[in-house]
């Protein structure tokens, strides 16, 4: 053996150790099995409800697959095992009266999409029930494949720029906002499910989105649900979040009101707010101007609106007033995905108008509540950016 070369090798190793600092330890017997995390496909990021381009119809949007880089955007898809639903309550009892259920089949970026419309008991269940009202292909890249809906309307499923904008780190740091702030989601893409209906389901209605799939016993498990941004994640403790996600809004008050009130009390706030927080439904009245909290437009600065309502300060904001990409006036409204080839409609301004929603926000909170709420919600932040299983 050539000891001289060996000593050189060892010398290199020592240098490497010094350069790299703390060394990992080795020598254990384990397999290093990968831990594939599929949650992104069923992780609801945001829900939007606004008027369509014609002004007479309603657009329902949910986004999934958060924080996707341009490089990974070509791989985005729906989970064929998951059913994606827009649950709609038309009579104010917090029980779904109509559900638009979207399922996908096939692997790869272009999948076969099926839209069903279910009513009554079929709307309540997560079963893939109801009448098929549309079938077609999902979109890939910056392309827009319109899936026509029988009886009128359009469906889009595909990658888009994440319409959400927010300075998460400044929020996490305890509302250390700067002006301008940093849009955490700038340049990232999501998968959007956009349903454009020729007329609203009712003049006033409530919407929440759900994702569900079957467990190992074949029973449907609702993985996520979302109405308004913020509510559930900030005010429901970490160990109850999954149960909350698996619940239905009609039971929110009965099950979670005490939890929310207790959280509020511990923060020095009164219990009245619980009545505003629950049930977790995004309500909209089409006879009034649309804008958060009356529906939610793509351009609505829900963070600033919420912060101002909670703190009572009219000036507080995260310094990120708008999305990094302009929205489109026409279907599918969301901007083309970042890093994709140009050519898709990606101009125009939002059709959404910002309404005065102060009448919906009669409550105020001490400023410390937000920080404490952050602790409750850990990093799960207002817009339900559930950090459950990143990687």
């Amino acid at each position: 053996m050539r000891l001289r070369k060996l000593s050189i090798a060892l010398g290199l190793g020592a240098l490497g150790a010094a350069a790299l600092g703390a060394l990992p330890a080795f020598g254990a017997d384990h397999r290093d099995a990968p831990l594939t995390k599929a949650a992104a496909q069923s992780d609801l990021n945001d829900v939007y409800v606004f008027k369509n381009q014609a002004g007479s119809g309603a657009v329902l949007v949910m986004t999934i697959n958060p924080l996707t880089s341009p490089a990974d955007t070509a791989k985005l898809s729906l989970d064929p095992a998951t059913v994606y639903e827009f649950k709609v309550d038309t009579n104010g009892d917090a029980i779904a009266d109509i559900s638009w259920k979207i399922t996908a089949s096939g692997a790869g970026p272009v999948q076969d999409i099926t839209l069903r419309r279910a009513t009554g008991a079929d709307a309540v269940t997560d079963d893939i029930s109801g009448t098929v009202v549309a079938t077609g292909k999902s979109s890939s890249g910056s392309g827009i494949t319109v899936i026509p809906v029988s009886g009128g309307g359009s469906l889009f499923v595909g990658p888009r720029d994440d319409p959400f904008f927010f300075d998460l780190a400044a929020f996490q740091a305890g509302l250390k906002f700067t002006n301008p702030g940093v849009d955490t989601f700038k340049g990232t893409n999501i998968t959007a499910l956009v349903l454009d209906l020729p007329s609203p389901p009712a003049s006033a209605f409530g919407v929440w989105a759900t994702t569900a799939k079957t467990d190992s016993l074949g029973k449907w498990v609702q993985l996520d649900r979302m109405g308004r941004p913020a509510i559930n994640t900030v005010f429901i403790p970490a160990d109850k979040k999954d149960a909350f996600n698996n619940n239905t809004p009609d039971r929110d008050v009965a099950i979670y009101k005490d939890t929310v009130i207790a959280a509020l009390k511990s923060l020095g706030a009164g219990p009245d707010l619980a009545g505003v927080l629950l049930p977790d439904i995004l309500t909209v009245d089409f006879s009034k101007p649309i804008g958060y909290l009356n529906g939610r437009g793509l351009a609505d600065d829900v963070i600033d609106i919420s912060l101002q309502a909670i703190t009572g300060s009219p000036t507080i904001g995260d310094g990120v007033p708008k999305n990094d990409n302009a929205f489109s006036a026409s279907f599918p409204y969301l901007a083309a995905p970042n890093g994709s080839a140009p050519g898709a409609p990606n101009t125009g301004s939002s059709t959404v108008t910002t309404a005065d929603s102060s009448d919906l926000l009669r409550w105020t909170l001490p400023a410390g509540l937000i920080a404490a709420g952050m602790l409750l919600g850990a990093a799960g932040f207002v817009a339900r950016r559930r950090p459950a299983v990143e990687v």
Binding site: M1, R2, K5, L6, I8, A9, L10, L12, G13, A14, G16, A17, L20, G21, A22, L23, P24, A25, F26, G27, A28, D29, H30, R31, D32, A33, P34, L35, T36, K37, P66, L67, S69, P70, A71, D72, K75, A107, L168, A169, Q172, T184, K186, G187, T188, D215, S216, A238, D239, K241, D242, A378, A379, G380, R385, P387, A388, V389, E390, V391
Partner: protein, 452 residues
């Protein structure tokens, strides 16, 4: 079941138990690579390709672009979600390139995430994954427990906790955690862990079914992960002598992820078992050229030895020695594969025995018990060796190497009945289970039967 004649290669079942899995050395391999590059001429494997050659340009480019993107994002945003994403990307790149600096980057990224969002579930589980990659299993278990207590209904932390517990020899606890993970997340990751449990329990048909289920359920998002499960199945086939199926599975892995060193090694073992040592040497050379995993380097040396190329063999053994000294110089704790190599290649026995005791004390897994038993046997402490060997076999694991060790120990004790049983079972599983020991096992068994 096909019983392939001809020569086979050492270490099939050990791979299944994870004792010699390529990935366990990947982070270290960057250091070893420095040695390797220097030793390149010295070691001189046949027809090596360039080290760390691009294995799948499309995937590698996408991974690199992803990392660049999120490095840019966190520099601007400093938020926990982007750090979490980046941590996962670093950990995947470690699996594919063995660059130890990525483990450190992952550690820093996970730490930053937890600074931005203290006590966050994803941050905790990510740091636990980093600790697993660093083989700091106690810390990994602590972090995973913390995450699990935070949100008991999410079971990613249970999977990680189970991984750490397997390495620490806490099999009942690991089984319980894997079950929780399976119930909540039935999928490729859960199935592969069930397969590992089945192997530990010696239920090879069940293990096979779970590996196949893991492959079927895989969504092929990460080619390396898809190839990994196929390599595990290939190793299972190999251990039970089903060489054609083992070859098919390793070829499938290479198709999914071209150039994958673990798959090259699996194919090399099949080649060696069918008597094609030239092909085995070529494949092991290619694997070690990509990442100089000590296991493969040692195997290459053993093949050279068998071919009568003792100079080439000594070069490979010298490289293993260099890697080992690098491990020691860099504060690496007990490494079972290197200890076994030392025991079987004439290293100083008293020092090796002490390392073995230490390894067993740190984590009393069945693999550590087996190595400890073998060291005690070499040292002539047969009764103590038998106790450890019994412990290594107490789960019912059907590992020909474990059984061979048990047989030789029993024989040394004069327990000929047990020796016949153990050696017979080892050879029945795979008559060529080890390039180094298969002949000795067969010879000893024949003598035991002849002398009856």
């Amino acid at each position: 079941m096909e019983r392939a004649p001809g020569r086979t290669f050492d270490a099939g079942w050990q791979d299944l138990l994870g004792r010699r899995v390529v990935l366990q050395y990947l982070p270290m391999a960057a250091f070893a690579l420095a040695a390797f590059l220097i030793f390149r001429n010295l070691a001189g494997g046949d027809a090596p390709t360039s080290p760390l050659a691009t294995v799948d340009s499309g995937h590698s480019q996408r991974l690199a672009a992803n990392i660049t993107f999120f490095e840019g994002r966190v520099a601007e945003t400093h938020d926990s979600l982007s750090y979490n994403r980046l941590t996962g990307l670093y950990l995947q790149r470690v699996r594919e390139t063995g660059d130890v600096s990525d483990v450190r980057r992952a550690e820093l990224s996970a730490t930053k995430s937890l600074e931005a969002a203290p006590g966050d579930y994803a941050g905790l589980t990510n740091l636990a994954l980093v600790r697993i990659a660093q083989h700091d299993f106690e810390s990994a278990a602590t972090l995973a427990r913390e995450a699990s207590s935070l949100i008991p209904t999410r079971t990613d932390a249970n999977a990680i906790l189970g991984d750490a517990q397997i390495a620490l020899g806490q099999y009942d606890a690991a089984t319980a955690n894997y079950r929780l993970f399976l119930e909540k997340n039935p999928g490729s990751s859960a199935f592969s862990r069930q397969a590992s449990l089945a192997e530990l329990q010696g239920n090879l048909p069940l293990a096979e079914q779970f590996w196949e289920a893991a492959i079927d359920a895989d969504r092929n998002d990460v080619p390396e992960n898809s190839a990994w499960a196929r390599v595990q199945l290939a190793n299972l086939y190999f251990v039970t002598g089903r060489l054609n199926e083992a070859r098919t599975a390793s070829e499938a892995a290479l198709k999914v992820f071209p150039g994958y060193p673990a798959a090259l090694a699996a194919a090399a073992r099949v080649a060696a078992a069918t008597g094609d040592d030239a092909e085995a040497i070529r494949l092991f050379s290619e694997a070690t050229a990509r990442i100089p995993v000590p296991d493969y380097v040692a195997a290459l040396g053993d093949l050279y030895q068998r071919a009568g190329r003792s100079v080439d063999a000594q070069r490979q053994y010298a490289l293993v020695g260099a890697i080992e000294q690098l491990f020691v110089a860099n504060g690496v704790r007990s490494d079972l594969t290197l200890i076994l190599f030392a025991l079987d290649h004439g290293a100083d026995l008293s020092a090796t025995l002490e390392r073995t005791r230490q390894a067993y004390a740190e984590r009393p897994s069945i693999a550590a018990a087996d190595v400890h038993a073998w060291a005690l046997y070499r040292a002539g402490a047969f009764d103590e060796a038998r106790t450890r060997s019994n412990e290594a076999l107490h789960l019912g694991t059907r590992d020909p190497s474990f059984l061979f060790h048990a047989g030789m120990i029993a024989n040394a004790q004069g327990d000929t009945a047990a020796a016949r049983d153990y050696l017979g079972r080892a050879l029945a599983l795979n008559p060529r289970f080890s390039i180094l020991h298969a002949e000795e096992a067969a010879r000893t068994l024949a003598a035991l039967r002849g002398g009856r």
